[in-house]
């Protein structure tokens, strides 16, 4: 399509009839009305360089604040001289996932399983220490690091558990079906915020003093269970969309239950439920902000905490705009990635 015809197509769409023309004009005015002051605040009138609040010009955004606090937004209160460990963990995860994506088709599954076994313990070791590294308590973790940590490790619990319970719900054994239904319905019925409260406040009161499960671990497990229930329902959608004939054919070929499930049913079902599972994962990333109620300083928590510094008091807009932008970037990137995955698989 050449340039002029695309232009005329747009003109056709936006101003085809007097009514659509009117609606377009109203919308343009509305967008300009919102966008112009926003851009003025965030870019034109903003202060980018400096070191203190005094350097900032009133009326515009004070990005100096974000610069001064950038380390905390990324790493929380993690000891400054140990932050390289977080960097290495991040690089390891990116490289690990990239290698699986880029690997030739026949190696993908094997490499994926290897990464699944290596990466999560490696990440925990790098972040928390031990075996030669200085021990860093989870209370010192924070910022974007913690948001990603909670999201990734909760989903490591949620995805396998979700698949298992989705299969369990379809099982022919009544007791397994019952257990699965109870698990799913219980965790789906409880608000996430209540789960986090229970995990963080009630468990330590019930458990005897000596048994101290880490506060962050409790939140991650709690979140993992809730998301597992949602994942299970997403996967069930995929399982139900699959024609019965697929499993019957697999059984007819002589495959047992696990082989038929692993080789025939699940690969197809997961492909179908990928969009729904991505939805759950994006929801999970946004739900991690709820850990703020138990004072775990994730990205939003650290943004809020940094507002209490008398040197930077009143930087609410900057703190929320910046952390909001990061959340949006992550969620948007994820949704694009899942779109491209769907396209490649020709769904």
């Amino acid at each position: 399509m050449n340039r002029s015809s695309s232009l005329s197509l747009w003109r056709e769409r936006l101003f085809g009839t007097p009514f659509t023309g009117f609606v377009s004009v109203v919308l343009f005015v509305l967008i300009a009305w919102i966008a112009i002051p926003l851009i003025r605040w965030a870019v034109i009138d903003a202060t980018w360089v400096g070191s203190t609040r005094a350097d900032c010009v009133p009326g515009g955004a004070c990005w100096v604040f974000i610069r001064a606090r950038f380390g905390q937004f990324m790493y929380g209160l993690y000891p400054v001289d140990q932050r390289w460990r977080v960097d290495i963990a991040g690089i390891a995860f990116v490289l690990g996932i990239a290698s699986v994506i880029l690997a030739p088709q026949r190696l993908k599954l094997k490499l994926g399983l290897v990464m699944l076994v290596i990466l999560p313990p490696l990440g925990i070791w790098l972040l928390s220490g031990g075996f030669g590294l200085r021990y860093v308590e989870t209370r010192e973790w924070g910022g974007l690091t913690l948001t990603l940590f909670i999201s990734i490790y909760s989903s490591l619990i949620a995805i396998p558990l979700g698949i298992l319970f989705a299969l369990g719900r379809q099982s022919e054994l009544r007791i397994i079906r019952l257990i699965s239904v109870i698990f799913i319905e219980f965790w789906r019925g409880v608000p996430i915020i209540a789960v986090i409260f229970l995990a963080s406040l009630l468990l330590p009161l019930i458990l005897p003093g000596g048994i101290g499960i880490d506060r962050l671990a409790r939140a991650v497990i709690g979140l993992g269970f809730v998301i597992a229930a949602y994942m299970a329902e997403a996967v069930r959608g995929g399982l139900q969309a699959l024609p019965r004939g697929q499993r019957e054919a697999a059984t007819a070929l002589g495959l047992n239950y696990w082989k038929a499930t692993g080789l025939i049913v699940l690969p197809q079902a997961l492909r179908i439920s990928l969009p729904a599972m991505t939805n759950e994962f994006i929801a999970l990333i946004k739900n991690t902000t709820l850990v703020l109620v138990v004072s775990i300083l994730d990205l939003l928590g650290i943004a809020q905490a940094s507002l209490a510094d008398p040197n930077w008091v009143g930087m609410n807009m900057e703190a929320y705009a910046f952390s909001g932008a990061i959340y949006w970037l992550i969620c948007f990137a994820l949704s694009r990635w899942s779109r491209s995955l769907e396209k490649r698989r020709r769904l």
């Binding site: 009133p58 300083l297 809020q304």
Partner: protein
């Protein structure tokens, strides 16, 4: 004769029980703190001047300073504190379940909390109370001076009710202008739509820093409500409660007696005042009575400073909040701050 024997027996028994009291009561919390090598302190997630992490990630503030003083007194090092930031909802459970040794988190002392939550409040390190912020140019000295003025408040807030009641009781004609949110109310005040805005002293200090010209505004020091705040402990472990209480008292006594982080060495060596000498461990063995070293308060004052120093540094004139002492001044200087004697 029999009476004399009886009297001797009673005296003996009394002596024995005194001797028993001289022995230290067990303190599992203190033992745990010493074994751990650090103090677990519950603090606010972020409250300007009271508790916050600075650009370098170090905790500071008036409430945080108390944790440091306690760590210095118990462990000899003000840096041996681990902070647990707590939200409003989790502050009591986190203390009750033993995840922290003490809570120093601007929590108001009330009867029902003390009676029903299994918690004890160990003194007051900040007299919080609802007050007003006004323009300097208005020349208002106290809340009664607001007669004929207008006050911006968030509709339905406790502050609105308190202020309305207070003015009504005193037959003062004050117009209360309602806004949907606190932020709207303070913005309206900043824009000049009202003569005053109302909130707690500590909150107002933080709010003032957000105004266009903070120096043009003054916070009235005489509050219209009473919300004293201080460190909190669990029920049980009397000796730990004793330590928590007297470290706070010690920082106030130090200001009273003129002991500061700068002159503490000189005071310990040369002071003739027996109370100073007892406080700093030069005589009396007061620390040992609680199972601490005798230089417990010496360490706290040396490393953290007395109450006044801490106040000025965190919320007072040495900070960006520039809050006057007001009720948080010593009782001898017109405030409410008070400590029983070190005798």
């Amino acid at each position: 004769m029999t009476f004399r024997i009886l009297g001797a027996v009673v005296l003996l028994a009394a002596g024995a029980s005194v001797a028993q009291a001289q022995q230290l009561a067990p303190s599992p919390t203190l033992d745990a703190v010493k074994a751990r090598g650090n103090l677990e302190c519950g603090v606010h997630l972020g409250l300007p001047g009271f508790s916050f992490a600075n650009d370098k990630g170090e905790w500071s503030g008036l409430d945080v300073d108390y944790c440091k003083a306690l760590a210095a007194a118990v462990l000899g090092d003000a840096n041996k504190v681990k902070y647990t930031p707590t939200s409003v909802q989790q502050r009591w459970p986190i203390l009750q379940s033993g995840q922290v040794d003490v809570l120093s988190r601007n929590s108001t002392i009330t009867f029902s909390r003390n009676a029903t939550l299994g918690l004890n409040f160990q003194g007051i390190n900040f007299y919080e109370g609802q007050t007003f912020i006004v323009r300097k140019s208005a020349g208002v000295k106290d809340a009664a001076g607001l007669d004929g003025a207008s006050v911006c408040v968030a509709a339905g807030s406790t502050e609105e009710k308190n202020a309305a009641d207070w003015f009504r009781e005193r037959n003062l004609k004050v117009t209360i202008t309602n806004f949907q949110k606190n932020d709207d109310a303070i913005a309206a005040y900043d824009a000049g739509r009202c003569d005053a805005y109302t909130a707690g002293v500590g909150a107002l200090a933080g709010q003032r820093a957000k105004l266009k010209n903070p120096d043009d505004h003054v916070i009235l020091t005489q509050p219209i409500s009473n919300d004293p705040q201080g460190p909190v402990t669990r029920w049980g472990d009397e000796r730990w409660q004793l330590i928590v209480r007297w470290v706070l008292n010690g920082t106030i006594a130090a200001e009273m007696l003129g002991v500061t982080s700068k002159n503490v060495d000189e005071m310990k060596a040369n002071s003739k005042n027996t109370e100073v000498r007892r406080l700093l461990g030069a005589e009396g063995g007061f620390g040992a009575m609680m199972g601490l070293s005798n230089d417990w308060m010496y360490n706290a004052i040396k490393q953290v400073g007395n109450y006044g120093e801490s106040y000025e540094r965190n919320v007072g004139m040495g900070s960006s909040l520039k809050l006057e002492r007001g009720q948080n001044q010593l009782w001898t200087k017109g405030g409410l701050l008070f400590t029983p004697p070190f005798q």
